[in-house]
């Protein structure tokens, strides 16, 4: 049986900033033409991982393989196949057209430059000749923040890359621009088989589109990204129990954490409307359904609830959803067992 070569493989990778470890990944494989989401709190190492995958930086130790070959910054085997949209992209001091065609020119691809530029701009919803003016000839300083983000994405799409890395692509733009960016990324995957690796806080979007979701915390990759992770600090209450007090006087109870700043992975196993006692070791918390979203992998539905300032998600079948009449805004109780909590 032929073993498929992953587009990326990471082995024993660590990365340090000023001597401090920020990334520590033992082994990670990313399949070709897949969509991979990366979720995690600020400072968890998402952007660093993307920079390493984008060959912008060299890891402190370990190897990154691209298409089965070791990949390093500026290596000819890989750099022409990868583009990355940074979190806060800037445009070069050129026209829109100059910016979008830059990647094509770097690759010596000058055939039908104008057509490729216009196609990339159309993909991000920027018509080259919009509003009676030639948008592609606009200078870099005459664009709004959303337009800068979309032009920057168009520049990454124009070379039709094998891999497109997106770092918080919709964080600083309005809803319309965000939608255009999402559609353009999906279109790249659909039309050219581009592998998408997306770091985002837009949990719902990632669950809708991703084949695989990686959760990051303190530089480590773990889980499937579908876990409920509650970050510290944790405190010890007067009765000796550990937990976190919510604004509505509910308490998230946990066993004693390894350290006060650890993150708890909480497995919510059921939801109910009533306050029935599920057992001495089962914790119930009241919350409100925020939204329902489709789990692309299993066909199940993710029900996301707000409990205080935290959100919890549980995967349910559509029959369960119908049976319990779950809809956004409905009050429900979640159930979890403290004994099954894992620490990161």
């Amino acid at each position: 049986m032929k073993v498929e070569t992953p587009i990326y493989e990471i082995r024993s990778l660590t990365h340090l900033y000023a001597g401090k470890p920020v990334l520590d990944i033992n082994h990670l494989r990313i399949s070709d033409s897949s969509i991979v989401g990366i979720v995690g709190p600020n400072g968890s190492g998402k952007s660093t991982l993307l920079r390493l995958l984008g060959l912008i930086e060299r890891p402190s130790s370990g190897e990154i393989y691209f298409n089965g070959r070791p990949a390093k910054p500026f290596s000819n085997d890989s750099r022409l196949h990868i583009t990355m949209l940074p979190q806060d992209p800037i445009l070069m001091k050129r026209s829109v057209s100059g910016n979008v065609s830059f990647g094509l020119k770097l690759r010596g691809n000058r055939d039908d430059l104008e057509g490729r530029v216009n196609q990339a701009l159309e993909m991000v919803g920027l018509d080259a000749g919009q509003a009676g003016e030639d948008f592609s000839m606009r200078p870099w300083y005459a664009l709004s923040g959303g337009e800068v983000q979309r032009v920057a994405l168009a520049a990454r799409l124009a070379p039709r890359p094998k891999v497109l890395l997106l770092d918080e692509p919709t964080a600083n733009v309005d809803a319309v621009s965000a939608q255009m960016i999402k559609e353009a990324a999906i279109k790249a995957r659909k039309e050219w088989g581009t592998t998408l690796i997306i770091a985002s806080h837009d949990w719902q979007w990632l669950h809708e589109i991703c084949d695989n979701i990686l959760h990051m915390f303190r530089g480590k990759v773990f889980g499937s990204g579908r876990e409920n992770i509650i970050f510290g600090p944790w405190r010890k209450f007067e009765d000796g129990a550990w937990g976190k007090m919510l604004a509505d006087n509910q308490r998230i109870r946990v066993p004693e954490p390894p350290d006060k700043a650890s993150a708890a992975i909480i497995d919510v196993f059921s939801v109910s409307e009533d306050e029935s006692n599920r057992g001495r070791d089962i914790i119930c918390l009241s919350g409100t359904v925020l939204h329902l979203s489709l789990d692309k992998g299993t066909g199940h539905v993710f029900v996301t609830l707000a409990v205080g300032i935290h959100t919890f998600t549980i995967s349910m079948t559509d029959q369960q959803i119908q049976a319990q009449g779950i809809y956004p805004g409905k009050s429900l109780r979640i159930h979890y067992s403290p004994d099954r909590i894992k620490w990161v």
């Binding site: 920079r51 984008g54 060959l55 912008i56 910054p73 500026f74 000819n76 750099r79 022409l80 196949h81 990868i82 583009t83 990355m84 949209l85 940074p86 806060d88 992209p89 800037i90 445009l91 070069m92 001091k93 830059f102 990647g103 770097l106 690759r107 920057a152 520049a155 990454r156 070379p159 890359p161 890395l165």
Partner: protein
């Protein structure tokens, strides 16, 4: 004050009737300054880019030395170049003393630190995200350096224009190394000094007007480039 007004009208006459002596000084100035600027740009832009772009040991000391050399007195450069090019000097055999190439060497020494310093400043002022943006689009090392250089072009050009203004208006090097020889090494500034000493204000004012016009063009260019940048 009448002599100034009279000199002004005579200056216009000299300029518009194509006075040979006046145009000889103008041409000598343009030739020597263009040559020295060409040399200082070829050497100074790469050196300035490296100074601004790379971090290396003792970078701060190098930067302080370059900044100090930006204020190098022209008469002192003139003295050093004279000492090098005189018959007793190490480059005396080349016969460059009292020639336009000799002045060009001195003016290159004058302009070089300015080009290096202002290029380095322009590169240092470059948005740090730019390098990542260029790499994230698939550039190799050479393409990245060239693209960064192109992005700093307005700042580097403004530095070059400032150096050109300094070279055009210096008098110490031209006087000491060139010798102010009529029809040969007499530049605008040395001619002004000589004509003023002789009491020939018309010629001095005419040449001064040319220098002013050039200075105006230089400043207009800087203003335009700053606005663009």
């Amino acid at each position: 004050m009448d002599f100034l007004l009279e000199g002004f009208f005579q200056a216009l006459h000299l300029l518009f009737t194509g006075n040979d002596e006046t145009y000889s000084a103008i041409m000598a100035t343009l030739k020597v300054s263009s040559c020295s600027m060409g040399c200082s740009l070829i050497m100074g832009i790469p050196l300035g880019f490296c100074l601004g772009y790379f971090d290396f040991k003792r970078k701060k000391i190098v930067r302080i030395i370059v900044d100090t050399l930006m204020a190098f007195p022209t008469v002192f450069i003139g003295l050093l170049v004279y000492a090098l090019l005189t018959n007793r000097g190490p480059l005396g055999d080349m016969g460059l003393l009292f020639t336009l190439p000799g002045i060009a060497i001195g003016q290159t020494i004058l302009a070089l630190p300015i080009v290096i310093g202002l290029s380095a400043t322009a590169v240092e002022a470059m948005d740090k995200r730019l390098q990542m943006a260029i790499m994230s689009l698939g550039a190799d090392r050479g393409q990245m350096f060239l693209s960064c250089l192109w992005e700093c072009r307005h700042g580097i050009l403004a530095g070059a224009v400032a150096a050109y203004g300094r070279v055009m208006t210096e008098v110490g090097i031209s006087m000491m190394v060139g010798g102010n020889i009529k029809w040969h090494t007499r530049t605008i500034t040395t001619a002004i000094a000589l004509e003023t000493n002789k009491g020939e204000f018309a010629m001095g004012v005419a040449l001064g007007l040319v220098l002013l016009a050039i200075a105006f063009c230089v400043n207009l260019s800087i203003s335009f480039l700053r606005r663009r940048a």
